[in-house]
Amino acid sequence: MTKPLVKVEQLTKIYKLKTKKKSDSPKTLKAVDGLSFHIAEGETFGLVGESGSGKSTTGRMLLRLLDVTSGRIVFNGKDITHLKERQLRPMRKDFQMVFQDPYASLNPRYTVSDILEEPLIAHKLYPHRADRLKRVKELLSTVGLAETHMKRYPHEFSGGQRQRIGIARALAVNPKLIVADEPVSALDVSIQSQILNLFKDLQEAFNLTYLFIAHDLSVVDFISDRIAVMHRGRIVELAAREELYNSPLHPYTKRLLASVPVPDPKQRRKRHDIYEPLPQQTPPLKEVSPGHFVAL
């Protein structure tokens, strides 16, 4: 394995909740609770879990879109946990994000060309407009769109095409890391497969590193090299993709695996694993075999 591009140590996020009366003691919610992992250069690290497990919060902290309560984020050897926005700014082009809802994340009043030019202007990458437009055309062709799409607006595109625009925008500044938060969960299955293939192609072409967040285990299983299973703000199991599927150890991982509907009626499962109780406590992760960690 190559050197880690991202290292996260004891990452924690505590949200303060609103209280009814001022005199009430403030309530808090620990959304992410002492997460530690690394992502190697060129690797796809999958983060899977159900709603409220803290996976999106983790992704956002990693990109410093959310403040960290405690812990450390090291990106490319540099501690970025507490960098001020001004110091962070030049680094931001190294890590980009792709969102779930490509419609909500694209400015409806911008043309595709405007949307893709914007990050180039913000990071002062191509001072001349002609060069920027050349880059925009190049990006469109990279994600499988046509030059003729440049002058169109987001609403003129289908969900899959909009996600291609979202990916092109993330790619515009030549990032090292892309955090993709549920990038295919709003798409139909025939379109989902096109976008998943695109993620794989782009990784190979540009040596990208992905943090791929999704609730769908089959999707994460397809795209990832290693997978971390999150439950209630903690990683309960972390292993290479194949290892996690073949020898899951944590009851929650087993429950997730047993719950995924299999598109083959002959494999209808006896679902006892989904009703088995989960342990109350989540102890720290222990390495049980090389690269396989479990919190049991």
Binding site: V189, S190, K200, L217, S218, Y245, V260, P263, I274
Partner: protein, 334 residues
């Protein structure tokens, strides 16, 4: 009577009269549901599967939607000729429906108990006391714990899975013969989805319930359905027994859908995918509506639209000009 058709939909056409064009959301759908059977209706967004279910319930008030042709027969009744009053009694009493997002279908200012009782009093004419007892029985039936306290809770106090159980309890409270479930587990976490699917299977057996299960997820179909109808561009393009469909999908669209799914535990380098996207109605080809994306399309496909043709003696139908034999002899390759 086994094998008796509970519901028969023939030649259903439901159009939306919007400016600037008419949208043929459902354009000639035939389907049947037998007593005690779970029929899966699968398709991608815009295929017309939800509009099909709304047509059965005739729920197009204040929408530009209109059923323009076809017939819907439930038991011996022709649903399209029923008065609105008669339909109101059929809805809930004989055909009940649950939706994707239980939060938006529950009244936020009524307790769980109040809203189930409301339906029971309205449809079954029970007294309040009888209704409360019946509501509790229904909540127990769908596996809700601590029923005595939960009937006093408001919807927002329950989890998504619990809310969907409440919706099912409400739907089951008047002992309907048919339950229409439109993406009932799509908004739920996968472990909760598994439990709700289990519950629907149980009700099928214990209550001889027929279910029309609408979903985009072939995995969900494989888990619970007896028979499957695949929809594309307002039509059924394939229909078969669930085991037959997954083993021998005939229509290129069904084949494409199955091949595009990532499969857990299989080391797939790439996924195959269906090229392009579902065309808008104004861009539908004259012939087969799938021709624009079909790897096998040839001259005839562009000109004439095929019927839902019987592909084997066991009721497997496919709306495709190419039988396996034709593919072989003509040497048609993707």
């Amino acid at each position: 009577m086994p094998n008796q058709n509970l519901l028969k939909v023939s030649g259903l056409k439901t159009y939306f009269y919007t400016e600037p064009q008419i949208i043929p959301a459902v354009d000639g759908v035939d389907l049947t549901i037998k007593k005690g059977e779970i029929l899966g209706l699968v398709g991608e967004s815009g295929s017309g599967k939800s509009v099909t279910s709304l047509s059965i319930m005739r729920l197009f008030h204040n929408t530009p939607g209109k059923i323009v042709d076809g017939s819907i027969t439930f038991e011996e009744k022709d649903l399209l000729s029923q008065s609105e009053r008669a339909m109101q009694s059929i809805r809930g009493n004989e055909i009940a429906m649950i939706y994707q997002e239980p939060m938006t279908s529950l009244n936020p200012v009524l307790t769980i108990g109040e809203q189930i009782e409301e339906a029971i009093i309205k449809h079954l004419g029970y007294s309040r006391k009888q209704a409360t007892a019946h509501a509790k029985k229904m909540l127990e039936l769908v596996g809700i714990p601590r029923v005595d306290s939960i009937i006093h809770d408001y919807p927002h106090q329950l989890s998504g899975g619990m809310r969907q159980r409440v919706m099912i309890a409400m739907a089951m409270s008047c002992s309907p013969k048919l339950l229409i479930a439109d993406e009932p587990t799509t908004a739920l976490d996968v472990t909760i989805q598994a439990q709700i699917l289990d519950l629907m299977k149980t009700l099928q057996t214990t209550h001889d319930l027929s279910i029309l299960l609408i979903t985009h997820d072939l995995g969900v179909i494989a888990e619970v359905c007896d028979r499957v109808a695949v929809m594309y561009a307002g039509r059924i393009v394939e229909e078969a027994d669930v085991f037959e469909l997954f083993e021998h999908p005939k229509h290129p669209y069904t084949q494409g859908l199955m091949q595009s799914m990532p499969r857990l535990g299989e080391h797939q380098e790439r996924l195959s995918s269906i090229k392009g996207q579902i065309p808008a109605p104004q861009e539908w080809p004259k012939g087969c509506k799938f021709a624009t994306r079909c790897p096998f399309a040839f001259e005839k496909c562009w000109q004439n639209e095929p019927e839902l043709i019987l592909a084997n003696p066991h009721g497997h139908r496919s709306r495709c000009w190419l039988s396996d034999e034709v593919k072989e002899t003509e040497g048609v390759k993707p």
